[in-house]
Structure formats: C-alpha cells, structure tokens
C-alpha cells in the first residue's frame, strides 16, 4: 500500500447552512480526532446528514469553518469541493451503497487507489507500464477485500452482492484510499445482524488504527459499542455532547429525543386539550375500519418494516411511536400504497390488494404526509379541491369545504393564498383539512404536529378527537407523546421495523416509553439489554 498519510483532526467551527427559510444547521462545533469515534444522534430533521454534508464538502456552508489539523499544519477546507477533501483523506459513506452495479467488487475497490494525473494518462493510452500499475492496483484492492472478508467474491458483480457485502466493498474502497477521517451516515441501516457485526468490527478496527470516525446512527446499541463521545443534535443545533452514557442519561436529551412529553408528570394528560365533544378515554369500538396483517414494507429490496399487524375500529385512534428509523412513516406509506408492501390490508373489510394509491383514496383512505407536502404552487383552496377530487367525493365540494372551515377557520380565511406562504401551523391545519375534504373512512397522519409550537398541539388533539367522533378511524405517527395520549385509544411501539409493544393508551406509561425509545434494539445480543 502507499505510504500512510499522517493522522489529523477534522475541526468544524460555527458551521451553519440554510436552505431557503429552513435553517438546517446552526452554529455547530464538532471535532474528530485520530483514533476516536464520535457518535451523532438526533431526531429526524435535526441536521445530522446535513452536518455530514458540510464536513464532506457535498454542501457548502453559509458560515463557519472546516479545518484539517495535522501536527503543526492547518488546511482550510471551507471552500474546498468534496473531491478536494477526499484527496486530503476525508472519506464518506452514504446511506445507500454507491457502487457501480455492473463492475466487479474489485474494480469498485480499485477506484479508491489514487493515481496521479500524468500516470493516469499514460495508463489510459495503454502504454507498457500500465500493466504493472494495473496489477499493483488490483493487488491493493484484493488485500483490502481480504480484510473485509470478501476476497472470494472479488470478481463478482456488485449488483449480485447483498447489501451488507456492498457496504463492506465500500469500506474496502476506503481502506485502499487510506482515508484518515471517516464520515459514516447510518452505515448499519438495512443490514442483517451478521452484516452489522462485521461492519462494526471493521469500524472498531479502523478506529483502533488511528482513523477518526464520525458515526451518524439511530441504532443506539452500535453507538454504545463504537463511540467514544456522543453529540446530540436537535433543530440544527448541538443539544448536548459528552461521554456516551452520560449524555444519553441527560434528562434534556431524553425529553427532546423522545419528544415533547411530560413523562415525569406520571399519568396526567396534557390538560389544555380543548373540550372534546366526547371524553377521549371512552372506548367506542365500532366496526373494524382498518385491518393490517403481516405488513412488510420495502425500500428497494430491503424490508424496512417487517411483520406488523394491527386493527383500528371506527372511531378509534392508533398511535405509532418509536425512535427514528423505526419504520413508522414507512408503515403509513405502505398502507397508502406509496411503497411496495406485502401482507394484507383491509379497509372497511374490503381488501386493498395491490390497488394503486389513487384508488385507495377513492375507497376512503386518506393520507396526510409530513410537513411541507401540500402542493406549494397551488392556493389553499386549490389544494383542498385537489384532495376532494381524489377522495371518495361522498360530500359535495361546498359541504366538505364548510366542514373544514368549521374546524380550521384560519385556513379558510386564507383560501386564495399560495399554500407555500402559510405558516407551519397553518400548513398542518391545511394538511388535516385536505384529509377531511376526501370524506375518508380512515385517516393516516404522519407527524402532524412536527415542528409546531406547543400551544397549537391541543387544537390538533381536539381536531383528531372530533374526527374520530364522526366514526373515522385514525392512525397517527407522532413524537409528541402527549398528543398520542390525548388523541389515541391504542398505541403501537416500533423499533427497527418490528413491533415491540401494543396495547391501550392507558397502559402506555413512562416506563414503556423509555423501553420503546431508548431501550436496546431487538437485533442485538443479550448483554446490550442491560443498558436502558
């Protein structure tokens, strides 16, 4: 192999970047030294991947500096493009394996071997020396593949390798490139247990050999195993940082990471819930509206959700809770037909089979995606009409519009404005309003209160309760456990795509929440269960 690069420390100071009105990263300081692994966790939208992009050069920062310190020299990388940083030894793994599918594993790894300009051209011209150089590259690639245990498959097409193996090929490429700083973006996502072990082992080895590693992960068990320090991000800022266990036990972290919830007020619901037409706790079990059996939902070839079953009767509300990456939104999208899924889904006792999404909406399924997915270039009224068009049309447009106006007068007041101009809260109201326009039988809501001011949450709890009162079944993915307890009759807890808890809301208390959110993932070994 080429001579080793000297170790260095990657330092980011005051990093900030905004995309339009959205501030993704705000004044973040971070440091990755040789031989240490820094874990980064945080809820969705906290800015973790964006931070990684700022460090790797994929996105230029608006403010702040990125420097590489080596001994007494300092290299400023703020303006440097990703490829320049790569040549300085900063390597990055993306969330999905990025190999050339038709190439062999070895060729993909060979890409990591640096070849200086003129030498590369000589080889392109096929001059005699090229054979030696090519052999040298192939040897280096094979050595790296041997280290990750894939040397027997060096000649295989990368498309034929499993996801875990592809991830290892990428790591082999990094080995060959002699990277000194490694930025990993959820490297364990979608891997089988044995694959996770191999990857984790390799990461630990690299760390011990002096490579500085930044590990963005949802899988807390891996963080615990591999990270020396932990940084918790929220809304683009560093919420807490320090040794792993201490930081995870920080009550602020617990509160923010799990969601806005007064768990400590053991049992007392969010009082400010507006007077609902009926007491929320009353069980109204009507006919089954939504029945899901053995649902598996796929992102490409990977099953992100594996074996989920639940029933929701008319008038009931089911809350889906769990840490990020657990697959909650994925379940909703699978039921809505927006992602490939297997298993049985029945709406009002009619099987949906493999119906396309528009047909499911016609049958009475409504889906309210996460924020910012109203069609921004259309006006409020046009958005409402669009949802009415694609829904059951059980009511006339004017009637449906009136109903929404009753619930959310503020939204109707702005009916001629562009949806993109509404405030966050108004957009949320519009989102639910759109679902109502379709006169649905079942409504799926994906984090309807995400990013909302706490004062608005009771309004939503009220709206959901009123919705349920009309006999609609509701499934809500939520981080705000107060809302879940106020608006749902049952709760389903998920981790890593699998259900870990299912029961009535009354039994969902602080201990259960802790277990669901911060407990060990189902895929880990026995010893990890001790931590919690």
């Amino acid at each position: 192999m080429a001579e080793r690069r000297p170790a260095g420390t990657l330092v980011g100071r005051g990093l900030s970047v905004s995309f339009g009105p959205l501030t993704a990263v705000d004044g973040v300081d971070i440091e990755i030294g040789p031989g240490e692994c820094v874990g980064v966790i945080g809820p969705n939208g906290a800015g973790k991947s964006t931070l990684l992009n700022l460090l790797s050069g994929a996105v230029p920062a608006d403010r702040g500096s990125v420097r590489l310190l080596r001994g007494s020299t300092e290299v400023r990388l703020d303006r440097a493009a990703a490829r320049v940083r790569a040549r300085h030894g900063i390597a990055r793994l993306f969330q999905t394996a990025r190999l050339v599918p038709d190439w062999s594993a070895r060729e993909n790894v060979e890409l990591g071997v640096r070849t200086a300009g003129p030498a590369a051209w000589l080889e392109a011209l096929g001059l005699p020396t090229s054979k030696r150089r090519a052999a040298h590259r192939a040897r280096a690639a094979e050595e790296a593949l041997a280290r990750v245990g894939l040397v027997e498959r060096a000649g295989f097409r990368s498309a034929e390798l499993s996801l875990g193996q592809q991830r290892l090929v990428e790591l082999a490429r990094i080995l060959v490139a002699d990277a000194r700083i490694l930025l990993l973006d959820e490297p364990f996502a979608g891997l089988s247990r044995s694959a996770r072990e191999v990857v984790a082992g390799l990461v630990a080895q690299l760390r011990d050999e002096g490579v500085g590693i930044l590990l963005v992960e949802h899988d807390l068990s891996q963080i615990r195993k591999l990270a020396d320090r932990l940084v918790v991000m929220d809304h683009g800022r560093v919420l807490a940082a320090g040794p792993v266990e201490e930081t995870l036990a920080d009550p602020e972290v617990v509160k923010r990471y799990i969601g806005d919830v007064e768990l400590e007020i053991g049992g007392a619901l969010e009082e400010p819930a507006a007077p609902a037409p009926q007491p929320v706790a009353e069980q109204r079990s009507g006919p089954p509206m939504l029945q899901v059996r053995d649902l598996r939902v796929f992102y490409g070839p990977v099953a992100a959700v594996d074996g989920v079953s639940f029933d929701v009767a008319a008038g009931e509300g089911l809350g889906l809770v769990g840490p990020n990456g657990a697959g909650k939104s994925t379940i909703l999208r699978g039921v809505a037909g927006l992602l490939r899924a297997s298993g049985d889904v029945e709406l009002a006792e009619q099987p949906l089979g493999s119906l396309a999404t528009p047909d499911r909406y016609r049958r009475g399924l409504a889906f309210v995606p996460q924020t910012l997915t109203a069609v921004v270039d259309l006006t409020v009224e046009e958005n409402l009409r669009l949802s009415w068009l694609t829904g059951t049309r059980a009511d006339r447009f004017a009637e449906a519009l009136d109903r929404v106006g009753e619930l959310f007068p503020e939204v109707l007041d702005r009916r001629s404005e562009q949806a993109g101009a509404l405030s966050g809260g108004q957009r949320q109201m519009l989102a639910i309003g759109r679902a109502l326009m379709a006169s649905p039988r079942t409504v799926l809501l994906d984090e309807p209160t995400a990013g909302l001011a706490p004062g608005l949450v009771p309004i939503f709890a009220d709206a959901l309760a009123r919705l349920r009162a009309t006999g609609v079944a509701v499934v809500v993915v939520e981080h705000n456990l107060g809302l879940v307890r106020a608006a749902c009759t049952h709760v389903l807890g998920l981790q890593a795509g699998r259900p870990v808890w299912h029961g009535p809301t009354e039994r969902f208390d602080a201990a259960v929440a802790h277990e669901v959110f911060l407990g060990a993932q189902p895929d880990t070994t026995q010893e990890e269960q001790v931590h919690s």
């Binding site: 927006l338 396309a356 999404t357 528009p358 909406y361 889906f367 995606p369 997915t373 109203a374 069609v375 921004v376 270039d377 259309l378 046009e382 958005n383 009409r385 669009l386 949802s387 068009l389 694609t390 829904g391 759109r434 379709a438």
Partner: protein
C-alpha cells in the same frame, strides 16, 4: 422607418409561431419535466394535414379541425408510449431524448412519404388582405398569427387554471411526489400533458404554414426555434416562452432584413447557446435545476 415597422410586424408574427412552438415545449416540460425532440414534427404534421384537407376543397376551418384531431391522437399515442413502459422504471432522461429523436426520424420520414418532400403552403383565410404600413403592406395573416397565438395561449392558461384536470396537471408540474401523495394519477396526467403539447404544436403548424412553406425537413429548424423560445423563458414559464418566441422571431427577421441570411439562420441556435451558457435558468426563470456540477 416604415421598413422597420414592416419587419417588426413580420418578426412578431413569426415570433408568435415560435412562441407557440415554445409553449408546446414548456407545457410538456412543466407537466412532466421532459421535452420532446419531435415537437417540430408535430407542427409539420398539423400543417400538412391542414394543407391536404384544404386542397381537397374543404376549407380552412375544416383543415384546422382535421389537423387538431390528428395531432391530438398523435399526442395521446406519444404520451402513452413514453409513460406506460416507464411505470415501473425510473424515468430516464436519456430514454426520452433518444426515444423522441427516434420518433422524430420516423415522423419526418413518414411525412415525406405521405406528402412528398416539397415544401407546401397553406392558403390563408385572409389571403389577399393586407395591413398598410406607410407604403408597405403586411399580409394580414401575420396579424392572424399573433391573434391565434394569443387565443391558444389563453385557452391553455384557462385550461390549466380553471379545470380540475388542469389543477392536477399543475400539481404534477409543481412536484410529482406531492401530487402522488395527494392521490393524483400521475400516468394519466402525463398523457394529458403530452396531448396538450401536441395540440399546441399542431395549431402552430397550421398557422405558420400560411407564411412559411412547410416541408418535412422543416421539423428540425422549427424544433430548434421552439427550444430557443422556451429556453429564454426558462423552460418552466409559459409567458416566458411567448416572450422568447417573439424575441427570437424579431431578431431573426431584423437580422434577415438588415444583415444577411447567415446571421438570420444563426440567431436561434446562438440564442440557445448563449442563454444556456450564461443563465441556464433562462433570462426570466429561476435556475431550476438546470445545472448539476
């Protein structure tokens, strides 16, 4: 001075045709993010159908209607062709580029077989009518061009803004994922987008056939001019395409009148290149994903 006015009117008239060509490009692009290298052939198709019908003695309006019908069918077919096989595959830009080039070749050749390769003119309903400009006379058809373009533009705009299908089209144009989440049938909307683009192109072809002799080979230059017009507006801006068309038409006519033919022929490609190099988002539009690296 009068010569200038003469050229300006002619230029605006031609520009109106380019505007329609550009409008066809923009309509498809905003509806689907794609564009059609066979747009010029659709224009030629409309023109030649109209010529056939009118020379058979059925009158201008019949020719126009026939052209519209034929072009609509072509649009539906093309839309289906480029949408259905894509349903389960990611839509690849390359496929559409190469596929529409193939369609263009086929259509140009078929047009040559069915109508011959000689340029043909369509007699204008306003033949013999002139608009006096000083001592010069402008054929009234140029005014018809402007009026026709305005009518088409207005119709398309009305359709987009006031009908439910138009609403769905706009949703798709704004964001395919958002439209899909809202339950819009994307495939059908794409076919509609193609059909509208074809209709606009067909009408443009009928209108232009009275001032420019149209042969199957005219498809390519018409297409290039359509792109130039659309690019000025940024490919996503219908009003921009109209403006772009007028600008290109004016520039060409003035160049042809005051300079020489070479410059006239170079205007459209030069405009395209310059705009793409300097402001890929168009002179009016935002730099909406035109650049990559």
């Amino acid at each position: 001075m009068n010569q200038l006015i003469y050229f300006v009117i002619i230029g605006l008239g031609i520009g109106a045709v380019y505007a329609l060509a550009g409008l066809g490009v923009v309509t498809l692009f905003t509806g689907s993010g794609l564009a059609n290298f066979a747009q010029g052939d659709l224009m030629v198709l409309g023109a030649l159908v109209a010529v056939s019908v009118t020379s058979a003695g059925h009158g201008y309006v019949a020719g126009l209607l026939a052209a519209v019908a034929v072009v609509a069918v072509a649009g539906v077919l093309l839309g289906a062709l480029f949408t259905l096989p894509m349903r389960h595959r990611r839509m690849d830009v390359d496929v559409v580029i190469i596929g529409t080039l193939g369609v263009a070749t086929t259509m140009t050749t078929l047009a040559g077989i069915w109508w011959g390769r000689q340029p043909q003119r369509l007699d204008s309903p306003l033949a013999g009518v002139f608009v006096p400009v000083g001592e010069m006379r402008v054929p009234a058809h140029y005014v018809l061009l402007l009026v026709g373009a305005a009518v088409v533009f207005g119709l398309v705009r009305w359709f987009h803004r006031r009908t439910d299908i138009g609403l769905q089209l706009r949703a798709v144009a704004s964001s395919v994922p958002a439209a899909r989440d809202a339950g819009v049938r994307i495939g059908r909307m794409l076919v509609v987008a193609w059909t509208i683009a074809a209709l606009v192109g067909g009408v443009a072809g009928v209108l232009v056939a009275s001032v420019l002799p149209i042969a199957p080979e005219s498809a390519l230059p018409l297409g290039v001019n359509g792109f130039a017009a659309a690019i000025i507006g940024g490919l996503a801006n219908p009003a921009g395409a109209v403006l772009g068309g007028l600008v290109v038409g004016l520039a060409e006519t003035l160049a042809g009148g005051y300079l020489n033919d070479t410059v006239r022929q170079s205007v459209a490609p030069l405009v395209l290149l310059v705009v793409l190099v300097l402001r890929p988002g168009g002179l009016l539009g935002r730099a909406r994903g035109a650049r990559t690296v």
